[in-house]
Amino acid sequence: MAYTEEELKKELETKEYEYGFYTDIESDTLPKGLNEDIVIAISKKKEEPDWMTQWRLEAFRAWQEMKEPEWANVKYKKPDFQDISYYSAPNKKPKYNSLDEVDPELLDTFKKLGISVDEQKKLAGVAVDIVMDSVSVATTFKKTLAEKGIIFCSISEAIQEHPELVKKYIGTVVPKKDNFYAALNSAVFSDGSFCYIPKGVRCPMELSTYFRINQAGTGQFERTLVIAEEGSYVSYLEGCTAPMRDENQLHAAVVELIALDNAEIKYSTVQNWFPGNKEGKGGVYNFVTKRGLCEKNAKISWTQVETGSAVTWKYPSCILKGDHSIGEFYSIAVTNNYQQADTGTKMIHLGKNTRSTIISKGISAGHSQNSYRGLVQVNSRAENARNFSQCDSLLMGNECGAHTFPYIEVKNKTAQIEHEATTSKIGEDQIFYCNQRGIDTEKAIALIVNGFSKEVLNKLPMEFAVEAQKLLEISLEGSVG
């Protein structure tokens, strides 16, 4: 059974204050800059056990020795890491008193997405009657899920309540020294989600972080850990189609998925962070490390719709460790105006008879640059590994770029690897054909783009797919003169 927004809201209205929760805000802001004291302070604020503090410190020391990667096909001004405040609690005070004060352009987008007025207020940071903070939502879910033994809570809570699980799994898929941004995240992560599905349990609803991001300052350094025990199943939705504006320019999240024997994790993301304005000013830098580990017969599917951020650096990957395990990556990345995206996946075949599928759809418009970067690696012991990759690029206009960087490393002769790539352009002839049938240019582009993205859109859970489709249309509005 899927949990609809309406149902959840209703439930929250009635239980409004039952799970009332707030943190002591005044004392929850740390000065700018990063050093060991700050890392210790963050850990202290979160009342973490000593092992967690030490873990963070190790990550910090490793990070200090690391260099910011430069291999991605993106250009941006490197952030000054000493000019960032690494811990600031959500601002409880609403940014605006009424919707009239909110940027009309933003409201217009909300309307197009069909977001209710209450929701609009919440997303824009306007004071609302119903307070839906992350913990109360998580708690509501928790109750429904508790009967099945499923744990779904914030990572901070998990560190307190389920330290044995966190300690056992955190950093096992994305080691704290994995890369520059992952190390940074490991040292300073502020919050994120934790999810645990017990053996043999099918999670009865789509677990969603949708309701967790209503707070201002969503968490610059989010950390997510999903553990699916043997034979379990979970579908996890992350993100939100509504445009997220954030003062934090740098976002460096880490997501780790662990699918034990015969388990399946479906992880869907819709990312719509502020991409900067039409001239390319502002916008979020999104440097994310996402990786999943598949044990025997396990399956992990990543599905992502990326339309936001000024710079995206993101490669949701699968380590196919167990025999017969399956990894999938379905992606739509849209860039418009001056956005830059370097995104793709890594499929690491370690076990026998492992299979992976990659379907990547890149859509570039305006002056944007859209790169697919993907690695398919077949280890020497991975007998009969199979991969199918398809990378399609769609260009709109003459100023944008689409790039494909496939890396294939095969060390076992029994492997079967297929790679297909196409590049096409939305042609004037296609537009005219649609126009002649009474479809205006804006709608024609939406139709063509949705057709192009269909294979990936189909992989999204139903409600998400409809929203994502609208989001694609909005992201590309005005991109063809």
Partner: protein
Amino acid sequence: MLKIKNLHASIDDKKILKGINLEVNAGEVHAIMGPNGSGKSTLASVIAGKEEFEIKKGSISMEGEDLEELAPEERAHKGIFLSFQYPVEIPGVSVTNFIKTAINESRKARGMEDMPANEMLKLIREKSQMLDIDRKFLSRSLNEGFSGGEKKRNEIFQMAVMEPKLAILDETDSGLDIDALRIVADGVNKLRSKDKAIIVITHYQRLLEYIVPDYVHVLHDGKIVKSGTKELALELEEKGYDWLKQEAAV
């Protein structure tokens, strides 16, 4: 219905249409014939509003309204339909989805609600039967991997569903075998009515055996050099276009 007066049109400063006069009334079927490069397809594109073509002189009006300022989709909303000589492919968009979008966009322009799903289904089923179109065909991506004949049949299918006031068939017969030609022509003939008009652009007389025109015009070097009734088409078939070219040159 359609009035074209002294129409001159160019593409990249190359003059293609050099003074076309044509009047098409409701209920009539006009055939436009002529050798390659005479401007037949350009005429169709200009009526439909393709932007590459620039109208240098003259006018086109539909039911008294000047078309020049109207966007292609607005002309479509007024009931102008062009069956393309080379229909484009739109991957991932099914025939049904495309038709649904086209119908609802046109309805929206007329201030109507979306067509109810059951009505849409019924309409599509009815017209696909009329044109002997397999149901599997409807879920395929628009024109992607279609044979030449399938593309043409799909054009006429769309025309049947959209029920335009003025249909322009640009070389609809090319690429069709005799059976497909008969089906397509039957489909077109069923759409003939006293309040609709059809312009058939063709190279050969063959199609006109099935879709019998009221008038035949011969286009040469951007002008209509001869007009007549269906017998003119037969004469052309027999003599070719050369005698007309010579006549025009005099």
